[in-house]
């Protein structure tokens, strides 16, 4: 057990080192979210009115969720690279603990994604966003952030196991996550959308996650008139969605990883 922990930490440090070494990867989780925040806050913020609060208070939880979901891209690319370049094979010839590679991978990638979210939170604080309410509720909001990060890192890792190249991972992730984050309550309240789009957005898990964060942070949720079930219970829906995804993805990933590394 102790070798599993220490080997996992060695692997985690290695993955985290990558974030430091690859400027693009570091920019993905630092400058890019800051840029998005500033652009949206000052451009959209000037024209969008949020009932029950300011646009900046509304925006920050949304953009945190967007960053966390885009956080699947980095792990996906790392995984496909390690598998295709023989790094995993090299590690498999060492007397290291079984499972340490995957555990270290998840730990480091979740930490990297959360670093991005932390930078965003700090940016938010700088431009006037605040979390309101009692400590435990706000803390549970951060708990949801960790859960979302874990879910999307796991999803990215799985994508890296089934894709053939890093371009493939980036393509798939971008083509799915990008539209999904916009067809949601991420940046604008969905009440103003056309009925069809509104319906899609209301059942989009990204809407649930953003609304869940807003609820826990005491920020305006701006639900549509006559909200459906998910918008009435966003915390529940977001949590269950992530939990179900993890319950499905974890065994699937372990199986796929074993397949990829056994012949």
């Amino acid at each position: 057990m102790s070798t599993l922990v220490s080997d996992s930490l060695v692997m985690a440090r290695r993955n985290f080192e990558h974030v430091r070494r690859v400027p693009e990867k570091l920019l993905d989780v630092t400058l890019q979210p800051i840029m998005f925040t500033l652009l949206f806050a000052f451009v959209f913020g000037a024209v969008i009115a949020i009932p029950g609060g300011s646009y900046r208070e509304y925006l920050i939880p949304g953009i945190i969720i967007q960053t966390l979901t885009f956080g699947m891209m980095g792990p996906g690319v790392s995984m496909v690279t390690d598998l295709s370049e023989g790094v995993v094979d090299r590690l498999r010839t060492l007397p290291m603990a079984k499972g340490a590679y995957l555990i270290g991978f998840i730990v480091a990638e979740v930490a990297a994604t959360l670093l991005g979210a932390t930078i965003l939170t700090a940016t938010g604080l700088a431009i006037g966003w605040r979390a309101h309410g009692d400590v435990s509720t706000v803390a549970s909001g951060f708990g949801i952030m960790v859960l979302v990060a874990l879910t999307f890192v796991t999803l990215g890792g799985y994508l890296g196991m089934i894709a053939k190249s890093s371009e493939g991972v980036q393509g798939i992730a971008f083509m799915t996550v990008f539209p999904l984050t916009f067809l949601a309550s991420t940046f604008v309240p969905i009440g103003g959308l056309s009925p069809v789009l509104r319906h899609i957005a209301e059942w989009n898990p990204i809407t649930w996650m953003a609304a869940a964060l807003r609820t826990q942070f005491g920020n305006p949720v701006a639900p549509p008139d006559h909200p459906g079930l998910p918008m009435q219970h966003p915390v529940l829906f977001a949590t269950v969605f992530c939990a179900v995804l993890l319950v499905v993805l974890v065994p699937l990933s372990i199986r796929r990883f074993t397949q990829r590394t056994t012949d």
Binding site: D7, V10, E17, G86, D89, T93, P95, D263
Partner: protein, 326 residues
């Protein structure tokens, strides 16, 4: 898990009837080897001969479909973890982490090989000196030249002072100087008691390093023995007969077969030359006489001792098939 108690087991490498099938395709079949501790086995063959497949099974990366093997006294299937504690492996591609420095790579491998932090650092520094990597130890692996990465790869495989070292085509892509340096390093390691199994496409490499050679072709063992035995097996000497054109050379194979001990082949490097295996003391006149009345006139005639190249040419299919189709 303890070592198997079989009295045949020793600290080197043994395999009996080792085979690997992918679907309907046998990548390797019937590999029997017995590499005594402190000796060098060369697995020689073209691309696709089954060399890497053999190495992957012996290093626990791939499960044998049939047969068995022990490495450093441990069964590769039953005691994989013990095997991994006693081996070093460097694959065909440089498989270190490109985004870590040379030093950090070695420390990481050390930590994963059960060394403490201090031991891993000390071992990394030792290897950096031993393999002369001092000037680029703080460079990222991805920024190292091919030769440097090979050295790093070798260093990584030596971190846990393995009893048995496996190298998959260690000098492919290296310039002659780097290749010679690597050979010298490997000789030093073997002199220190390490067992070495390496795959190679280079006959010179097998000749220079290996005590024993297994020649693989399309997944089968076609020859097995010391370099000297293999050369002796296919006959003592060769005449190289040069012609004006490759057509003449090809036509001359039939009459020249009259004095040849084994198959007459076209030189893979020069299609206007025919290589004729002959018994020792065969005279030049006898060679010329076979061409009498054929209208084929040799431009040049050279006698030489057999080389491993000839073993390769005679016993494996690919080169002759290529010559025949071109």
């Amino acid at each position: 898990m303890a070592a198997t108690t079989d009295s045949n087991v020793h600290g080197g490498v043994r395999a009996q009837g080792l085979g690997k099938r992918f679907g309907d395709f046998w990548a390797l079949r019937g590999l029997d080897i017995d590499v005594a501790p402190g000796t060098v086995l060369g697995l020689l063959g073209h691309n696709g001969a089954g060399k890497t497949t053999a190495l992957r099974m012996l290093t626990t990366l791939s499960r044998p479909t049939e047969g068995s093997a022990t490495v450093a006294g441990f069964d590769v299937q039953r005691s994989g973890h013990d095997v991994r504690r006693n081996i070093g492996v460097a694959g065909q591609e440089a498989t270190v982490d490109g985004l870590l420095t040379v030093h950090a790579n070695l420390v990481m491998i050390g930590r994963l090989s059960r060394l403490s932090k201090a031991e891993a650092r000390a071992r990394a520094e030792e290897l950096i000196v031993e393999l002369d990597m001092g000037e680029f130890s703080t460079r990222l692996a991805k920024d190292c030249s091919g030769g440097m990465r090979r050295r790093l790869d070798l260093a990584a495989s030596l971190v846990q002072r393995p009893a048995v070292l496996f190298l998959d085509e260690p000098t492919t892509g290296l310039d002659p100087l780097a290749r010679n340096n690597l050979w010298a390093t490997l000789k030093r390691l073997v002199a220190g008691g390490m067992t070495l199994v390496l795959t190679t496409q280079y006959l010179e490499e097998a000749d220079r390093l290996a005590d024993e050679i297994v020649l693989l072709d399309h997944g089968r063992v076609v020859a097995h023995g010391s370099p000297a035995e293999l050369k002796a097996r296919i006959g003592g000497q060769r005449f190289v007969v040069s012609f004006d054109t490759s057509e003449d050379a090809d036509a001359a194979r039939i009459p020249l077969a009259g004095i040849a001990t084994t198959e007459v082949v076209i030189d893979p490097d020069d299609a206007t030359r025919v290589i004729v295996p002959v018994a020792p003391h065969t005279s030049v006149v006898a060679v010329i006489a076979t061409l009498d009345g054929t209208g084929l006139e040799p431009l040049d005639l050279q006698r030489r001792d057999s080389t491993l190249d000839d073993v390769f040419l005679t016993l494996t299919e690919t080169p002759t098939a290529e010559v025949a189709s071109s």
